[in-house]
Symmetry: C2
Subunit: 329 residues, 2 copies
């Protein structure tokens, strides 16, 4: 194995002291005479010494790294969320290991295999796969965002049910007669389904039929467009749509435009998420906004507690949402 160019030992030699002393100077620990400190600093500079992080990690048995396992960062919601998680973690001295699962279970498992092997001090997860038992089998501190993983893993989520009610109420008040919803395929046990539950309960209460089109998060844009075209073919009477996320809302409006439908005159649309980037690119969209930044902050707080050894008994947390008034509904 090739050795690192200059190490602590070399500094010690040049400064004429022991490794311990150099280590002490490095970490500001113990009693040192100013003379020694200066000598060591000088030697370090002369040699361009850079302490090896990995060696330290091995000894300390911690890396100050946190793994983020989410589908992708190329998305307004996850982009903002991960940026914010990174920010919060940075404040606390942690760096982030990216684990874009692309919703590929194989990849997610592969990431976990590595991350669980001492590579990180904790994990924040929100990927959309299920039944990955690695999560349950580990001692590593884990916090989940908008996803149920296992009962000992706390979940930070928006109040999805309330959000669903806000959205559907809005469409009802707008006088919509035929409201259609989009969501993930059934069977993916995510808090997201609460949006659907709210929709279905409200529809039932108002004696309307509920119709949900299921759209995979990781389908291509073209596949999604195909589903939405089918939606308009099969339900030409539709006059209100509650999309489970803003990008779907945008695609739906594209299809509506193709069909010559005016939003909001002919069709009202309410989205979900309200991420910063969507607000910038599509400010006209009426949407239910999740408190993304707060979710990130809360998740990091919880993770820190777990890392510090506090035994939280599945302290899951739900945060409030709010309706952003655009002009599409």
């Amino acid at each position: 194995m090739k050795k690192q160019s200059v190490k602590l030992e070399d500094v010690a030699a040049l400064a004429g002291v022991s490794k311990t002393t150099v280590s002490r100077v490095l970490n500001n620990r113990g009693y040192l005479s100013q003379a020694t400190i200066d000598k060591v600093h000088q030697a370090m500079e002369e040699l361009h010494y850079r302490p090896n992080v990995i060696a330290r990690q091995l000894y300390q048995q911690r890396t100050k790294l946190v793994g983020l396992v989410f589908p992708t960062v190329d998305n307004p919601f996850f982009g903002q969320l991960e940026a914010r998680l990174d920010w919060e973690l940075y404040q606390r001295g942690y760096r982030v290991l990216m684990g874009n699962s692309q919703n590929n279970p194989k990849r997610e498992k592969e990431y976990l295999r590595q991350l669980l092997n001492g590579q990180v001090d904790g994990l924040i997860v929100g990927a959309h796969n299920q039944g990955i038992k690695q999560y349950r089998d580990t001692q590593l501190p884990i916090v989940s965002i908008e996803r149920w993983v296992s009962k000992d893993i706390p979940v930070v989520a928006a109040d999805n049910y309330a959000g669903g009610v806000l959205a559907v109420d809005r469409l009802l008040k707008d006088g919509c007669q035929h409201i259609i919803h989009t969501n993930y395929p059934h069977g993916l046990p995510s808090p997201n389904l609460e949006r659907r539950r709210a929709y279905e309960e409200l529809m039932q209460k108002h004696h309307r039929q509920s119709v949900t089109y299921e759209v995979n998060f990781d389908s291509s844009v073209d596949e999604k467009l195909a589903i939405f075209r089918r939606l308009f073919d099969e339900h030409p009477e539709v006059d209100g749509i509650f999309a489970d996320n803003d990008t779907n809302a945008s695609l739906i409006m594209q299809v509506a435009r193709e069909r010559g439908l005016k939003v909001p005159a002919d069709l009202k649309v309410v989205g979900f998420d309200g991420a910063n980037m969507t607000r910038t690119l599509l400010p006209e969209l009426t949407t239910v906004q999740q408190p993304i930044d707060r979710m990130a902050a809360t998740a990091v707080e919880l993770l820190q507690e777990r890392i510090n050894g506090k035994q939280i008994n599945n302290k899951s947390i739900q945060l409030p949402v709010k309706l952003i008034e655009g002009i599409t509904a």
Copy 2:
């Protein structure tokens, strides 16, 4: 120091072999009898053994980690770019360490201080700060995207000049008389400036006055809106805008709407970037598309070569752009 629960030594003990043998089984190296292999595997399972990644990294003097230093991941361009870099790196067995600099030089330096200390095998950078000499002082393989760092660091960039020409040409052909440009503040030596150079040269060639509004990448949305409102105040005659990125283009269209200007009837707008997320949320925007995925692939290829020790003599690479026809120009 707390010790790792179960280590290689424990497996060896249980299986009744030496550490060497267990290591060999783990890495599939050297001659092993099937009997031994089975014994060891069994012991590993019985103990739920997980090899410690950090120890291996220390010995091998490499981490199979690559650091990504960019302003933020919460942006259509950087989001897609980093997602794609992650994807390409994953294929080659590398994982990604996120380094969102937030355009904060202090933070960028702080990341570098750590990353350069053996934490990563290479770096792909595209943050917007300058004059950070750490980049020059290290032996670590580095590749840059859309940013000039130092002359030994290869740059992967789009053909920004050609992009600028495409955009301005389009506005000229549309009959615009008063074309205004937005770009970064002068003094930030980025290939992005080539867009401005193209604009200014074309304007001069057509005997028009060139007017550029300078907008910091990391200003808040409100600050940016303020600048664009000023733009319309100071230049009510404007009938064409070449924005240096799509989010600015979107904000400009918002302000135009405030002023009662119709796009494209009263004002034509061409953006820059053409990231997937922008295409989804703002498909009507005419824009110059950068080949983001190819840029990512190319950067990773270059980095891999550097890591493998090939001495590329600053093999910088420029990739072609194309005009996406929307309806805003």
